[in-house]
Every structure is written in C-alpha cells, then in structure tokens.
C-alpha cells in the first residue's frame, strides 16, 4: 500500500469518527495554543525587554548627579554622592562624547514656593517650598518616570504639571485616590532677590499650572514634574536677581543632573567608570538589571514547562484515543490483513491517523495561540502607551509557529507509535473472531 493510499485511508478513518477526532484535535489545539501563546509572550518579553535594556531604555540609563563621586562607592547601584559640583553644558558635552553613550538627557530642577489648591472640605493645604523637576518630555520613554494616573504634561507646556505621590499625600489625598488631584490648579512662585534702594526685596514670579497626571519619578528629587521649558523660565527669573539670588537658595548648577543612556547594557559599567573619571557621581541599576534578566529567564522556563506539560497531556490524549480506536477496530484491522495488508501497512495507516490529528490540532492551535498572544499584546500596549512608553509589537514568530505545528505533529506521531504498533501486531484471525 502506498503512502498516498494509506493517507487517504487514515483521513477517512478520522472522518468516520468525527466526535472523537474533534475532541482529540481539541486537546492538541488547546495545548499548542497554550504553548504558542506562552512562548510568544515570554519570548517577546525577553527579546523586547532585554532589547530595550541592551539598546537603551529606562533600566539601562545612568543617572548622573551634579556632584562629585564618592570614591568608596563608585561600584554601587545607588552610591552616596560626594560634594556638590556644577553640571553645565560643557560637562554634558564631555559626557555625550564618551564611547558607548547613546543619548544624554539633561534634568533640570528649581525650588519654588508651591501653593496647592484647597483640599477636601475646602481646607487649604499649607504652602511649601518644593522642587520642580524639568525634563524634555519628548524623551520621557527613556527616563525613569512611571505614570500612575492621568497623563504626562505636553512637551514644552508651561501650564501643565505632573505631581508625585509625595505631593498627593501632602495635600491630604491618599495614593489610592490620587486621581482626585487631577484637574486642580497649583500656584508656583519663583523668588528673585532685588535691591530696592538699599533694601533687599524678594519678588515672586507667579504661575499657575494644572495638575494633569500623577507620576512616580526617579529622574531627580522633586514632587512636581514639568517641561524643561517651564523650569528654565523659572531658573532664568531667579538667576536675573541680585547675585543670582543665591542668598535665596537658587541653583548653582545649571542642571540638577542628567540621564545617560548607554548603547548596550554591557556598556553601562564602562560608561559609568568614564563619567566618574569626568568627575561626576553616577548611579545605575546594574544589579537590578541582572536580577531582572535572571527572573525573565526563569519565567520563560516556567512558562515553557507549563506549555510542554500541556502538550504531553495532549500527547497522552492522542495515544489514548488511538488505543481506543485500535480496540474498537480489531475486526476491521483483521479484515484489512485478511485481504492482504502487511503489518507495515496497518502501522502506516494508524501512524498517519495520529499524525493527522496532531498536525490539524497543532496548525489550528498554534495560530489560536498566536492570536491569544496578540490579544494580550493589545492590552499590554494600551498600558505601555498610557505610561508614555513605546508599545510592544509581537510580529509573526515564524520559527515559533512552524515549530509549534511540527512539534504537535511529532508529538502525535510519538504518541501514536504504540497504538500503531499494537494495531500492526494484531493477528489476522481477528477478521473471523466473534468481535
């Protein structure tokens, strides 16, 4: 009997018992779908997250402080800084020129008199002196800034502000109800020292900004986040005062710090060393990244193991279904032998039958799994977009899809081997037996 004839006979055999075939295919389908979805998600997590880590991103960034390094702590993730040291454009230029540096994002900071709006029960919150952090919000995806509620201020806007949970608690709102501060207006005053005929006079530059979002941020110390433009304008007002208004605690360093993105995760230690040699203190979550990588690997292994267990269960299902089919069709097998079928003909038919079930289940299941991964990707992307981060594109993992289909087919063939052998070894006299 040719392979083609065996295939026709096997397919007709499958179609003869549609209920059992559908259930068996369903088992393979679910297992393949689960494995494909898990592997697609975990592979994407590894490649996209680690790619982001290795090609530059929030976790691959190096925070540069406007301070000299403490020689005793240069290798720590978050070292104590040394003496304050101005970080100006020239210093940023030197850092930008270092080998392995992909991007340098300056971080500004200005201390201002903050007047929050009336809180719950129309109770006015005590004004306070707070730090306003300013960054180029076009690069927020590269900065350690996480959106908790609302949205980020528009890049370049001077009337929008995002606040941290520190501010939220200060105005008497619990972090779980942080969205209550959205839409409120905060008044900010930058103070300038003026000489009024021999008398020192402090003149404030008052601005109003609407709270549009609540963020968690680690770019610099501060409870408010605004565009770099808004902070620069406040800094310029303060600096235009007598003696740069230093008596009021105005900034001495043009930049509060900088965020340096290295070309690759492996370049981070070297870039940190070189920035230290330029004379500034740095911090970077090197050990954290190593831990994240290890955890991602573990997650990947666990997810793959879950999927493989599902596939093995599906394989047992195929084996069981095929054994049941052999039991039911003993006389039919006997008849086939009576009319001349060799052992290998019977073996071939049953093996093809198992392979067909595995192939169909694997084919449909793999694409269903990919669809599930895509659906999960949509949800994840919605979250990432809300965070101002770049979304994740799953793409079509062709090797994974081909591997899924081939794997399910091979598994079915392995699971079908024993039933096929059993069928092949049945004696021809089954044709005339009582069954």
């Amino acid at each position: 009997m040719s392979w083609r004839d065996a295939l026709v006979l096997a397919v007709k055999g499958v179609r003869r018992r549609p209920g059992r075939a559908v259930l068996t295919v369903l088992a393979v389908l679910l297992a393949s779908a689960l494995l494909t979805a898990l592997l697609t998600i975990s592979t994407t997590a590894r490649t996209r997250v680690l790619d982001q880590l290795s090609s530059g991103g929030p976790l691959a960034g190096i925070k540069v402080a406007a301070a000299a390094p403490d020689p005793a702590q240069v290798n720590q993730d978050n070292p104590d800084v040394g003496a304050p040291k101005d970080l100006d454009g020239a210093a940023l230029g030197r850092i930008r020129a270092l080998r392995g540096v992909r991007q340098v994002i300056p971080v500004l900071s200005v201390r201002q008199y903050v007047v929050p709006p009336r809180g719950p029960g129309r109770r006015r919150t005590q004004p306070f002196i707070g730090s306003v952090v300013g960054v180029d919000l076009r690069h927020v995806g590269l900065l350690p800034i996480t959106l908790e509620a609302g949205r980020l201020p528009v890049a370049g806007a001077t009337t929008e502000v995002a606040v941290t949970d520190g501010y939220v608690e200060r105005v008497g709102v619990t972090p779980t109800q942080r969205s209550r501060v959205l839409g409120t207006v905060v008044e900010l005053a930058a103070g300038r020292l003026e000489d009024d005929g021999g008398h020192a006079l402090v003149r404030g530059r008052w601005t109003k900004a609407t709270v549009v979002g609540v963020v968690g941020q680690d770019a610099a110390n501060g409870e408010l986040l605004m565009s770099d433009r808004a902070v620069r304008e406040a800094q310029a007002w303060i600096a235009s005062g007598v003696n740069n208004s230093r008596v009021l605690g105005g900034p001495t360093s043009p930049y509060a710090g900088a965020y340096v993105v290295a070309h690759g995760i492996d370049a981070v230690p070297q870039v940190r060393r070189e920035i230290t040699s330029v004379g500034y203190s740095t911090s970077a979550p090197e050990n954290l990244i190593a831990s994240v990588r290890r955890y991602l690997r573990v997650v990947e292994i666990v997810l793959a193991a879950v999927g493989i267990i599902a596939l093995v269960v599906a394989g047992l299902g195929i084996g069981n279904a095929m054994l049941a089919a052999v039991r039911e069709r003993r006389r039919e097998i006997g008849v086939l032998k009576a009319i001349g079928a060799r052992d290998r003909d019977i073996y071939r038919v049953y093996l093809i039958e198992a392979g067909t079930l595995g192939f169909v289940g694997g084919l449909v299941g793999t694409f269903v799994g990919w669809g599930i991964a895509e659906a999960v990707g949509v949800v994840v992307n919605r979250y990432l977009t809300q965070q101002g981060l770049e979304g994740v594109r799953l793409g079509l993992p062709v090797p994974l899809l081909v591997g899924g289909i081939a794997g399910a087919t091979v598994l079915a063939l392995v699971a079908g081997t024993l039933p096929a052998l059993r069928a092949a070894r049945l004696p021809a006299r089954e044709a005339v037996s009582g069954g």
């Binding site: 039919e332 009576a338 009319i339 060799r342 003909d345 005339v432």
Partner: protein, 223 residues
C-alpha cells in the same frame, strides 16, 4: 491438508478443535464445510486462508507450504492467492463501494488506473455498478455481501473462502449471493470453500465435508 492439528490455549485449559484433519481439494473445486457450532469450521478456514499458521500438520495451497511461512509471507499469500467472504461482510464503512473493492488492489500495489477499471468490472459483475459511490451502510445486506464478493475477486485469487456468507441474509439475497459464489469456479477458475450451516447450500456444492471430533469426513452429496 494432512494431519492438521489446532488447539486454543486458555487459563481454563487447552481446547483441541482440529485433531488430524486430512483434506484434499482439486483446483476449481466447490466444497462445503458443515458441522455443529464450535467444531472448528472457521478455524479450518482461517488456517486454509493463511489467517493463522498451522500449529501441526501440513497445509499446502498450490505450491505454498503455509506451515513454514512468516507473517509477511502469509500476508503476501493472502493478498495474491486468497479471497475472503465473511458473514459480517468485513467492509470498511468509511469507504464507498468502489473504494472497498479498490482497497484490495491498493494493498497489492496495483496502480490507480488499472485497479479502478478492475473494480468497475467487478461491480458490474455483481450488479452494483450503480451503487459504486454508496457506502456500505447505505446498501442492503445482500448488496453488501455481493460487494464483499467483488472485493474478494479483486486480485484474481486461486482460492475463495466464504465463512457463512448467507448467515445474515434473507432467502432471496442468499440465493443471489450463492449464485454468484457458485459461479466462481467456472467463471474465474478458482476453488471455492464455503462454511455453512445451511444444508441446501451444502447440497449445492460438488463436495461436502463434515467436521466432527476434530476431523473432516467427506459426505456424499445427494443427487
């Protein structure tokens, strides 16, 4: 067939069903095997047709000595030399009538074209040409048995073995089926052995053997 012995082993004890059967048939013979239930008619047929190897004794069909054959050789013997007709028809429900007939050719390695033509000829011969695309469950009992006869003839066997071929048929269908079977020795030049309980069918054979006490005794056919 000389000194054929066959026994079934079981935990309750061995049962000897054939105990020195001697039987000689000439090419083109039409023989009936009769006897009470359980005397070994079907076992004798199985050994004769190569469904199982003889445990003891000699069984020769043409030039084939079945006693020394391997599983593969027995399969080849069944495919090339024997045609079976079963009481339960033994048709594959998933295949059409034409495909059931062709299947025997497929197992013999016949090319698609010739075996399709041969199947059409045989379906015509058994009066089922217009049911070629029907599945066995869509045919009557008589039609199924005629289909089984067509399949048995697919590879031009030298020996046709029929095990209670009319056991599941009504009288009219039985007559039709037996007419077909009885025409085989003359029409196709093959030897026909029919296991039956039906004395009328046995009486229409050229030779009749009664199995009793593990042995085959030839009986005279009443004229």
């Amino acid at each position: 067939m000389v000194g054929l012995r066959h026994r079934f082993e079981s935990r309750a004890g061995d049962v000897t069903v054939l105990d020195g059967v001697d039987l000689h048939l000439d090419a083109g013979d039409h023989a009936a095997l009769v006897g009470a239930s359980g005397v070994g008619k079907t076992t004798l047929l199985s050994v004769l047709g190569g469904l199982e190897s003889p445990q003891e004794g000699t069984v020769r069909v043409d030039d084939h000595d079945l006693a020394g054959m391997s599983r593969g050789e027995l399969a080849t013997f069944r495919r090339e030399t024997v045609g079976f007709v079963f009481q339960h028809f033994g048709l594959l429900e998933a295949l059409t009538a034409a495909e059931n007939v062709e299947l025997a050719g497929s197992l013999a390695g016949a090319a698609a074209g010739p075996r399709r033509r041969r199947a059409a000829e045989l379906l015509e011969a058994v009066g089922l040409v217009d049911r070629a695309r029907h599945r066995p469950l869509e045919l009557s009992g008589g039609e199924r048995q005629r289909l089984a006869i067509a399949r048995a003839l697919m590879n031009r066997p030298r020996l046709v073995l029929a095990d209670e071929p009319t056991g599941n048929l009504d009288e009219r269908s039985s007559t039709l089926v037996m007419g077909l079977l009885e025409s085989l020795p003359a029409g196709h030049g093959c030897t026909l052995v029919v296991v039956t309980h039906d004395a009328t069918i046995a009486a229409r054979a050229r030779r009749c053997f009664r199995l009793s006490g593990g042995r085959a005794i030839e009986e005279a056919i009443p004229v």
